[in-house]
Structure formats: C-alpha cells, structure tokens
C-alpha cells in the first residue's frame, strides 16, 4: 500500500516537473512568445484563486463572492511594496505591512485563545474586540515601520540589487497574502453567521467596497503611487513562470494535505450538514472561518503574483463582474474537485485570453464576450455538475485504506445479518 501511494506521488511530482521543464525550455528558447507565456502565468494565478474559492465554496459550502476583493488586496499590497523599493529605493511599504501583519497576526491568535474560554460571546462582539485591537496595532505598525525603515534599507542595500529585489518581491507576495487572510478573518467573523445566500451578498458587497476604495486610492487612502482610477504603473515584472509554478504546487499540496486530514473532513462536513456536524462535535463556526481565511490567503497570494506579471494594475480588473470568473471556473471544473479547478482555470485563460482573441477576425473582438457566455450556457446545460464532476487525479484522490485482515474478536455484533430472526423478536412472540 505504501509503495502504491509513493508511486502516485512520484508520478504526480514527476509529471509536474516535466511540465515545468518543458514550458521553461520553451520560454527560454523563445518557442513560446510573451503572449502565451503571459496566458500560462495568468492561468496558474487563476488556478490559485480558484482553488481558494473551491475550498470555501466547493468543500466548505460557503457561497462567497468576496474572493476577488481579497485578490485585489493582495495585488495592490504586494505591488505597493515592490514599487516603493524599485522606484523610490524605500522599504517603507515592506516594513509597515510586515510589522502590521505580524502584530495583528499575533494579536488575533492571542485574543482567540482568551476568547475561547469565554462562553456565549456573540460574533459581533468578538469582531469588535478584534477590530479595535487590529486598528490600534495597525497604527503602532505604521510608527514601527517608519522607525525600522532605515535599518531595512541598509541591510537590503548590502545585497546585490537583483537579489534584494527578489527578496523584497517574495516577502511582499507573502505578507500581502497574510494581510488578505487577516482581513478575511475580521470580515468573516460576523458575516459568516449569515445564511448562505446572504453571506454571498455580503461578500459581493466586500468586493465592491474594495473596488471603490481602489478607484480612489490616491485621494481617499492617500497612496499617490496607486494613482486611483488611472491605474498603477511601474510595478517591476518579477513573476516568472518559475515563481507562479512553485506557488501553485505549494498551494495544491497544502490544500490536498489539509483536505485529506481530520481538518479537511471537518471542513467538508460543514458543507454536507451543519446540524449533523455540530452533533458530531465539530465547531462549525470555527471551520467556516478556517476555510474562509485559508481560501482568502490563496487569493491574496495569487493577487501578489498577478500584480507582477504585467507590471500594471487597474481597478477595473477587480470589478465585481470579473469576480464571477473564479466562481465560473470552479463550477465548470466541478465543485469539490481540485483537478477540475486546475483544468478549468488553465482552459479559461487559454480560451478567453488566448484562443478567442486570436480566432475572432479583425473587427470582431467584441464578439469575444458574446461567444464566451454562449459556451458557458452550453456547458451548464449539458453538464450541470461541471466538466469533471468530482473526479480527482490519483494524487489528489483520497485513498480508502483496505480493511485489516482480522478483527478484534470481542467486537462483533450478535446479529451478523440484519434480517435474521433474533432473540428479542422471539422473546416478544
């Protein structure tokens, strides 16, 4: 049995490596032009966002339209950090977000432990406590960040420029992801208590609020470099095929490992039947938050990666209309199927951004969004459970261990066959 599992791992990782090497070679040898290279990377980014959403909706059953908002938060946060470093030689963005994320993260974990001992605290009150604490710590982080900036600048300047830039980039992507996760925790705490559709509407509202804030990022939030509705330019283009691929593999493995554990089963039980889950000792609220936070973490991560693909961000990318894209991807791929999500994400990028742009003749570009919904309708009408249903690749599939050969002899029911006449029945008759 052990050999079989490791063989599956071998095939999976070998296949991944092969895929990576082939694409990388094609890029290095200029067989794959920038257009297709970008599409592949966008496909991988969409796969990460959609896997996160599949965790929230496909596995945990919480209908969220907020994924795109967290994606936007990740994108703009990471972009701002690297922008400041590469254009202004300043690590201010990095230090503030880093300290903020760390302080708030520690505070959330600590408050959580304290609050777990208090019975009967409603979600809104808990939210108020976390919110006030995060607000205070956020202000503290701004001061700390300003203090620490010169230190960080000096240390980073000791390194060669390229290395320093890569380090700033990776930290930026990671802290942006954690920031998105922390915001999702604060937002999700009260909002997850709403019923399924109402939760969806509230998260849609979140996406729209984020978009409005980004439209006015220069005037209302005071981030001049984000340039509000004109779009942010000058972000270093650092997301190579290597980085997206690496993060995609990490996300797949983390998600798969989590789902194949007791935590994953608890997450899925919430989707299946909340009341039965509660009756089996599962803290439903806790697991809703857990999957929402991890899903948003993936969204933030994907956002950070996306920001450094084109070197250009525009609030219209984070329009709520586009927020349906990951939802479309997971439904097309099959809810609760990681394989389906992966395939659908790449297919979506190849088709919508690639093929349809190339196939449609000059002057018919607007037809792209006429053909796309028709395809969508057709797929939904023909396969309403998604293209893959609940199929999983062997590596992503949960293996049911074979039965032990012999049983504990003391543990055997008296009634080996359910319909056999029994002593109790005889007793009554």
């Amino acid at each position: 049995m052990l050999k079989k599992i490791s063989r599956q791992n071998l095939i999976f990782f070998g296949g991944l490596l092969l895929f990576f090497v082939i694409v990388q070679l094609a890029i290095s040898l200029h067989l794959l032009n920038d257009f297709w290279n970008t599409i592949l990377r966008i496909g991988a980014v969409m796969a990460i966002v959609s896997l996160g959403l599949n965790l929230i909706y496909g596995f945990n059953g919480q209908f969220s339209l907020g994924q795109w908002g967290f994606y936007a938060i990740g994108a703009y946060t990471a972009a701002d950090i690297t922008y400041r470093w590469s254009n202004e030689q300043s690590s201010l963005g990095l230090t503030i977000v880093l300290f903020g994320v760390l302080l708030v993260g520690v505070a959330i974990l600590y408050i959580r432990r304290v609050l777990s001992r208090i019975r009967g605290l409603d979600a809104l009150s808990a939210f108020t406590i976390y919110f006030v604490a995060s607000l205070i710590l956020g202000i503290v982080a701004v001061y700390l960040g300003k203090l620490a900036e010169p230190v960080f600048n000096t240390v980073l300047r000791l390194l060669p420029g390229v290395v320093a830039l890569q380090i700033v980039y990776i930290i930026a992507v990671l802290v942006a992801a954690v920031l998105a996760a922390e915001i999702s925790f604060l937002f999700g705490l009260p909002v997850l208590t709403l019923g399924s559709d109402y939760f969806g509407i509230a998260t849609l509202g979140f996406t729209i609020i984020v978009k409005v804030l980004l439209d006015n990022s220069d005037t209302m939030l005071g981030f001049q470099e984000m340039k509000g509705a004109r779009g942010m330019v000058g972000i270093p283009k650092l997301t190579s095929w290597f980085w997206v691929f690496l993060f995609l593999v990490i996300v797949i493995v983390v998600m798969r490992n989590m789902l194949h554990s007791s935590y994953g089963r608890a997450i899925v039980s919430v989707r299946e039947d909340e009341i039965a889950g509660m009756a089996m000792g599962i803290d439903v609220a806790e697991f809703k938050i857990l999957s929402f936070v991890i899903g948003s973490l993936f969204a933030g991560l994907a956002g950070g990666l996306y920001a450094h693909i084109n070197g250009f961000l525009h609030p219209n990318t984070f329009n709520f209309i586009k927020s349906f894209d990951p939802m479309i991807i997971i439904v097309l791929g099959g809810l609760g199927s990681m394989t389906g999500t992966l395939a659908a994400a790449f297919a979506w990028a190849l088709l919508l951004e690639g093929v349809l742009r190339l196939v449609l003749p000059q002057g018919f570009e607007t037809w792209r969004f006429v053909v796309y919904p028709l395809l969508l309708l057709l797929i939904m009408l023909l396969k309403s459970n998604g293209l893959f249903g609940d199929y999983e690749l062997p590596f992503l599939r949960q293996i049911i261990p074979p039965l032990k050969k012999k049983l504990d002899p003391g543990l055997q029911t008296p009634t080996s066959t359910p319909a056999s006449p029994s002593s109790a029945q005889k007793a009554i008759e």
């Binding site: 039947d273 089996m280 029911t413 029945q425």
Partner: protein, 274 residues
Amino acid sequence: MNETTNGRYILDIQELSMQFGGLRAVNNFSIHLEPHDLQGLIGPNGAGKTTVFNMITGVYTPSAGQICFLNENITGFESFEINQMGIARTFQNIRLFPNLNVLDNVRIAYHTHAGYSLNDAILHNRHYKNQEKELTERAQDFLAVFNLQDRQAEIAKNLPYGEQRRLEIARALAAEPKLLLLDEPAAGMNPAESSSLMDLIHFIREKFDMTILLIEHQMRVVMGICEKITVMDFGEVIARGTPSEIQSNPRVVEAYLGPGAAALSEKFRRRKVE
C-alpha cells in the same frame, strides 16, 4: 469525572420549558438517567419529544429549566461542546453526510481526538500518518461492529435505509459518548429489522457500557427494551414507569387514542379477563 459529588445521575433534567413564540412546545419537563439506564420517551406526534432532544444537544436553548450532565450545568452550551462532553445523538430523519463515503462518515466523529495539529496535517509528517492510521483502524473496527465493513467505500446516500440507520448509530458511538440519544431509530423498519435493531441496542449498552435514552413510536420496540418509560403529551409529562405500568395507565391510552378510549380499553380488558 464519572464520580461526582452526588453522582447518581448521568443526566439530570429539571423543569425544562421551551417556548416558540406563543407556543409552549415543552413545559416543566424533568427526567433523570442513571448510568447504564435504558429509558424510553414516547408520546403522540407533536408532543415535544424531539424538542427535548434538541434542547439536550444544544440545538435549541431552553426558555427555562436546567440540564445537568455529569453534574455540570450544560444549559445553553453549543451543540459541538455538548457532543465533546459526551452526549451523542441520532436524528429522526437520518442526517448523515450524504456525499461522503461510509468510512469518512465515521472518521469525522474522531476529529476532536485526532491527536495531530493542522501543521502536522499540512506537512503530512510521521506523527500525522501514525495518528491517521490509528484512527482509520478504529473507524474500521466500528464499521465491522456494525457489519458495515464491506461498505466502507460506498457513498452514504447510496446505502439502503437500514444501513443508513446503522451507520448513523455507528457514527454517534464513534465519538465515544457516555450518553446516547436515539431519535426514532426504528422508524420505517419492518418487524424483522426492528427486532435486530433491538438486539443491537442491547448489545451497544452492554458492550460500550452506554446510557441510552430513546424516542420511539413502535410500541413493540419501546416496550421490549426500555426499563423505564416517560410519556409526553402536549409538552408535558403525563406518565412515567415500567412498560407494564405504562401500558395500563389510562392517561396514556387517552393521550394516544383520545378521551373515552381509556374507558373503552378498560371494558375490553375486563371482558378479556372474564
């Protein structure tokens, strides 16, 4: 934890009431269960039996009264906490995790004592593997006890009705409770199936040293296995006693068959004796 100060009762419910708007679904309900008891709760439809279960397991918060389990007041606790303290239940209209396989349905019950952290799970380290293997084996043992071992890969919703019932009981027991609440376990079973269910309940009580409270409509089952029966009607307790006492209680007959029926049944009994 079992040995408490006046630890006679494992479950001690006093003057429990539940109000839904203007409707008093349960009024001044009290019941006591000693360890190893097997008690029944019966009554006509709408008498408030399931509401009592829902209050014990924290689905509803009682409007008045208190529930003590192992001498701790658990009134107002959340469902999952109550389960973790040792009360497991089944549902009137079976509530399995329909799209999961049989094995996972049982393994979910182990999650609070899985013994590894989220980090262990994500890293898939040795500790995770050992613990996971152990709990899987325990779950498979449970399935074997309930004669479901060959069904472990089956999706729960595809099981036949009787096996779904057994799986639900297996899942409840897998959480290693001290008190088991069964809500109409024999509903929809034919006489042969309900007889084997009675055997199963007896077996569970002996094997796991379980305290059981059950709601049941099939009089044959209740009278056949319960030592003590509480009868409810319109949210109130109208009788309590051994099966034979209950059978001859005129108030019970009246509750089930309507006023006048008690007198009629008395007449019939006399005629039979004569």
